[in-house]
């Protein structure tokens, strides 16, 4: 009798331990932490002796003052070069008739993305005209083009070098991590006095910010070329350089193009920040709009930026997939609207109309190209018939380019010899800032809405933010350090553990511990909210195509809309403070989590549904017991990205009352001290790297446990 009881009791505990080990450890740790927190009381104090003997900020400022006269002449030369390039481009775009520029801008979209992308480009370029932001858009476009050009040239070069040399790659990796997480405000001011006010400083700061993806993806693409192909090339007598140039780089092209695409998106993220060092363009509209609390104007500028970002994204993406999309031959009727609208007659007529027009234009273009080719080939054939044949072939293969050039030339001739083209008609301009501002006013004064925002605000603050602040700031620094280091050691190993110690000691010694904890609590609360909303939304989108087609454009806008556009509305509705900081961070960090969840669920094998339903499981049971657990690695990638984005947001939220490390970055900038802002910036980088490595290591252990690795 007693033997049976003896066997049962340990087995219950044993089961708990085996099945939910993670939760038991986490719960125990939380309990211990709460006890230590309660015993400790008050805010933690980092040893003052260390803080006083840590002259990082002062030494940096001294070094900066000393080194500047030596470096500045050289950087100014580079700055002058970029300014020359910039002005060349911007003068051409602004002083040329807008109709001609319009055609030049829209044609590449047609060339790479076909009719659909071409129409999108027409909408985008028209929006700049309609909103009367033509000059500003051209300035931003020039700034972006030159930044992207420089970033792509330097980036592919460094990427190729990294792929050839393991030591260089190992050296580059932490540098790239730092470049991606170091708040751009830290180097905005140095970029400005090193390279010059306005465009040059902005271009160079953008290059620094946008460089990492090209380097990473070029390196990755070349390294992923199977070793067999390289061996085959060398066995046919190719040298290493030949194999690289003729075999590996062409094979790595899709990856490199993806890197360029990412770089374009990163570069556009810096458009508004560049205004802080006097660069012209659309960022200016957003910035001055906000400065005067003109939400509508800022939104107009933001919309122009979003459209530019979406078109550039799609075009550069299409460039990477030209082979797949074929040569633009479209055999079926063009679809502009979702298929569900197919039975609605006007939609059908519109689609047929566009389709017919497009076919006619395409035929016309091919005809013109054929005529030009024939004429040129005949003329050349008089001299060298062999060369003429090859030229003919080459020209026919580029019939779109040929037709485009003829069109542009024609427009330029018309512009030169006739008065056909005028300014963009004033009557066609439209601004929606006034209705937006009126709507904003109504929202701010609405009693009902205010009650809602107040309850959200109070719930967030008293329920989550404030307790977490108190808890993290009250935990002794040595205890938190010990826990994080132990986690680093368990999930990853000695290297990460050492890195964690050094990083946390730096933050403590720079007297930034409490600011760091505020940053941490903002990040934790934001990511938690992102998780609560993002994962269900991602699951819904994975199951239902209609929801997905609705969610996708919203996510695209959230990711590309400059954060500055929604800072002021957030303040007006939620009032400045940590709550506003959290809300703005959630808006910014939500998209990757939703995307990764959708992807994770959708990528699971189809057979799962069949197997589970044959066992009698409902859709919900399948989801909760099988699919979500299996998608955890993908969801964790999303969580990891959300953490990184929340940390990146940390330097923007001080503008609306955020209290963490980012505020110190701003303070340094306002005091013209690189030392102070760099120190706080490094603090953010260190937190980012520690959290990133920890969550990646944890995900890796999960994957191994599930047998996915």
């Amino acid at each position: 009798m007693s033997a049976v009881v003896d066997e049962r009791e340990p087995s219950w505990l044993h089961n708990l331990w085996i099945e939910h080990r993670g939760w038991v450890v986490a719960g125990g740790l939380l309990l211990v932490s709460l006890v230590i927190w309660a015993l400790h009381g008050g805010q933690t104090v980092f040893p003052q002796m260390l803080v006083e003997n840590f002259p990082f900020a002062e030494k940096t400022d001294e070094f900066d003052a000393w080194v500047r006269p030596y470096v500045q002449p050289w950087t100014r030369m580079i700055g002058a070069g970029t300014v020359w390039l910039y002005e060349l481009l911007v003068d051409f775009l602004i002083f040329t008739q807008w109709q001609i520029v319009f055609v030049i801008l829209v044609l590449p979209a047609f060339a790479y993305g076909g009719l659909r992308l071409g129409l999108l480009a027409i909408v985008a370029v028209s929006s700049w005209l309609v909103l009367d932001f033509w000059d500003e858009s051209m300035e931003t476009l020039s700034l972006m083009s030159i930044s992207i050009l420089i970033a792509v040239v330097i980036g592919t070069l460094l990427g190729v070098m990294a792929s050839q040399n393991d030591r260089f790659e190992a050296f580059l990796k932490p540098v790239l991590d730092t470049m991606q997480t170091l708040p751009s405000f830290v180097y905005l001011i140095p970029a400005f006095y090193l390279f010059g006010i306005g465009p040059p400083g902005a271009i160079l700061a953008t290059v620094i910010y946008a460089l990492p993806p090209v380097i990473r993806l070029t390196n990755l693409g070349i390294r992923q070329v199977p070793a067999g192909i390289d061996e085959a090339a060398t066995s046919f007598g190719a040298t290493r350089v030949q194999s690289l140039l003729k075999v590996k780089i062409p094979l790595a092209m899709p990856s490199i193009k993806l890197g360029i695409n990412q770089t374009v998106m990163m570069a556009l993220g810096l458009v508004v920040l560049a205004t802080f060092i006097g660069s012209p363009g659309l960022g200016d509209i957003v910035y001055t709009g906000l400065q005067r609390l003109n939400v509508g104007k800022a939104l107009e500028g933001g919309l122009a930026i979003v459209l530019m970002a979406i078109v550039l994204d799609r075009v550069t993406y299409a460039m990477g997939h030209v082979e797949q999309s074929g040569s633009g031959k479209h055999d079926h009727v063009f679809r502009l609207f979702p298929q569900s609208l197919e039975n609605f007659k006007p939609v059908l007529y519109l689609e047929y109309g566009i389709d017919a027009a497009w076919r006619t234009i395409a035929a016309g273009g091919r005809f013109v190209a054929a005529m030009v080719t024939a004429a040129v080939a005949r003329t050349v054939a008089l001299i060298d018939s062999d060369f003429a044949a090859r030229l003919r072939e080459a020209m026919l293969a580029r019939s779109f380019l040929l037709a485009s050039l003829v069109l542009i030339l024609l427009l330029m001739l018309l512009d030169n010899y006739t008065d056909l083209f005028g300014k963009f008609p004033r009557d066609w301009e439209y601004r929606f800032r006034t209705p937006v501002n009126q709507y904003m006013d109504e929202l701010v004064t609405s009693k009902v809405f205010y009650a809602i925002t107040t309850s959200i605000k109070e719930g967030l603050y008293f329920g989550l933010i404030n307790p977490l602040n108190q808890f993290l700031m009250g935990l002794p620094w040595w205890y938190l350090t010990a826990v994080l280091v132990a986690a680093a050691f368990l999930f990853s190993g000695r290297a990460l553990a050492i890195g964690t110690v050094v990083g946390l000691l730096f933050i403590g010694a720079a007297d930034l511990w409490l600011f760091g904890m505020k940053t941490l609590s903002t990040v934790i609360v934001s990511v938690l909210i992102c998780f609560i909303f993002g994962v269900p939304l991602g699951i819904l989108a994975a199951y239902n195509r209609t929801i997905e087609s609705f969610v996708k454009p919203v996510l695209d806008t959230m990711q590309t809309l400059p954060v500055f556009v929604y800072l002021v509305p957030v303040v007006m509705l939620f009032s400045a403070g940590q709550v506003s900081a959290v809300i703005a961070t959630v808006i910014y960090a939500l998209p990757p989590l939703v995307r990764c969840t959708t992807l994770g669920i959708r990528e699971l094998p189809e057979q799962i549904n069949e197997v589970t339903s044959s066992f009698g499981a409902s859709v919900l049971q399948t989801l909760a017991k099988i699919k979500v657990p299996m998608a955890i690695p993908a969801i964790m990638v999303g969580v990891n990205q959300a953490i990184m984005m929340a940390l990146a947001m940390e330097v923007v939220t001080p503008l609306i009352g955020g209290q963490g490390l980012g505020m110190q970055v701003f303070d340094g900038m306002n005091r013209a001290s690189i030392g102070i802002s760099l120190q706080a910036g490094i603090g953010i980088v260190l937190l980012a790297i520690i959290l990133d490595r920890l969550s990646q290591a944890w995900t890796a252990t999960q994957r191994r446990a599930m047998g996915l690795a």
């Binding site: 790479y112 006010i197 400065q291 460039m319 939220t653 001080p654 303070d667 306002n670």
Partner: protein
């Protein structure tokens, strides 16, 4: 649909661009940053328009936030001069301008005529109520800082923990020492920093529109006074030795610029030294721009046309 499309197009664009490059660069060209608040921009436009129209210069205007960036730009020679600098709020200036104990890498060019005053303000409806909007007077006897404690419960906020809340200086680098001032004066309030000017005015405007009571830091001349009816709260008179337990010093605002300006463009420096745009002249222009939403260029042009006798005296 050719893959080589983009490079070829880029070459064409560049070739065409070369042809249309503007060549002539005038010698009389100056660069100045546009201040990011209306008052400063009005002062700057008045100076720029006089320099352009009467002395034949061309000024290139750059939008950027005021603060150390502007000083760095002037020091490096990227900017020739800047308008309406407020000494209390520009600790960076003290490092560079000789008159404020700096190294002389930025030159003091002369006062603008605008004299700034900073302090704490409440909406008029807090003291007098507003029958039309149905707002009762929440602090009828509020006159000076001494009265603040008895109304603490009216001004509390989420993060002030039961105390009254002061919407303080938005930027830490302005060295307002709001919390220290409150503590030294025995006012048991919490000083909150909004983090940026934008957030500061957004918060104040939103609270005003909802008719909530608040105490906030602000300064004059500023467009907020044109948009909202604010009343200043008495603080002890300025005394350097007792700072920050006093109000702010009067801010005699000034132009500053590159030391090269003194030798190369004495005519411009003359105008900037003689210029005396008073608060009373600036205020209606700020009102027209921010409340009547008129175009700032036109407002300044109208003022220049109507007040020729005033600004003629500033010319060399």
């Amino acid at each position: 649909m050719t893959v080589r499309f983009k490079p070829a197009l880029a070459a064409v664009v560049l070739a065409l661009g070369l042809g249309s490059l503007s060549q002539a660069q005038a010698a009389k060209r100056l660069t100045a940053p546009d201040p990011d608040w209306t008052g400063g921009l009005v002062t700057c436009l008045v100076a720029q328009k006089i320099i352009e129209e009467e002395l034949g210069y061309r000024t290139k205007r750059i939008t950027m936030p005021s603060g150390p960036g502007v000083f760095e730009g002037v020091r490096n020679g990227d900017l020739d001069f800047a308008c309406e600098s407020w000494p209390s709020y520009n600790p960076a200036g003290n490092k560079y301008i000789t008159e404020f104990g700096g190294d002389g890498s930025v030159a003091y060019l002369g006062p603008t005529g605008i004299v700034g005053a900073s302090g704490y303000y409440v909406p008029r409806y807090v003291i007098e109520g507003d029958a039309a909007r149905g707002i009762p007077a929440s602090a009828p006897n509020l006159k000076s800082y001494k009265d603040l404690n008895q109304y603490g419960h009216m001004f509390k906020s989420l993060e002030s923990g039961g105390k009254g809340n002061l919407i303080g200086c938005p930027v830490a680098a302005w060295l307002c020492d709001d919390q220290k001032r409150l503590d030294m004066l025995g006012v048991d309030y919490h000083a909150q920093s909004m983090g940026s000017e934008t957030a500061h005015w957004a918060e104040i405007q939103a609270k005003y529109k909802r008719g909530e009571p608040f105490v906030a830091y602000a300064w004059e001349p500023h467009w907020i006074h044109a948009a909202l009816d604010l009343v200043s709260i008495e603080l002890p008179a300025y005394d350097e030795s007792k700072w920050p337990a006093t109000t702010w010093d009067r801010d005699v605002t000034h132009f500053h610029g590159s030391p090269k300006m003194l030798d190369e463009h004495p005519d411009v420096v003359h105008v900037l030294q003689k210029m005396d745009l008073t608060n009373a002249m600036q205020a209606p222009m700020i009102y027209a721009v921010d409340v009547k939403k008129e175009d700032i260029e036109e407002v300044v042009d109208d003022w220049l046309a109507a007040n020729e006798s005033v600004w003629r005296k500033w010319l060399p």
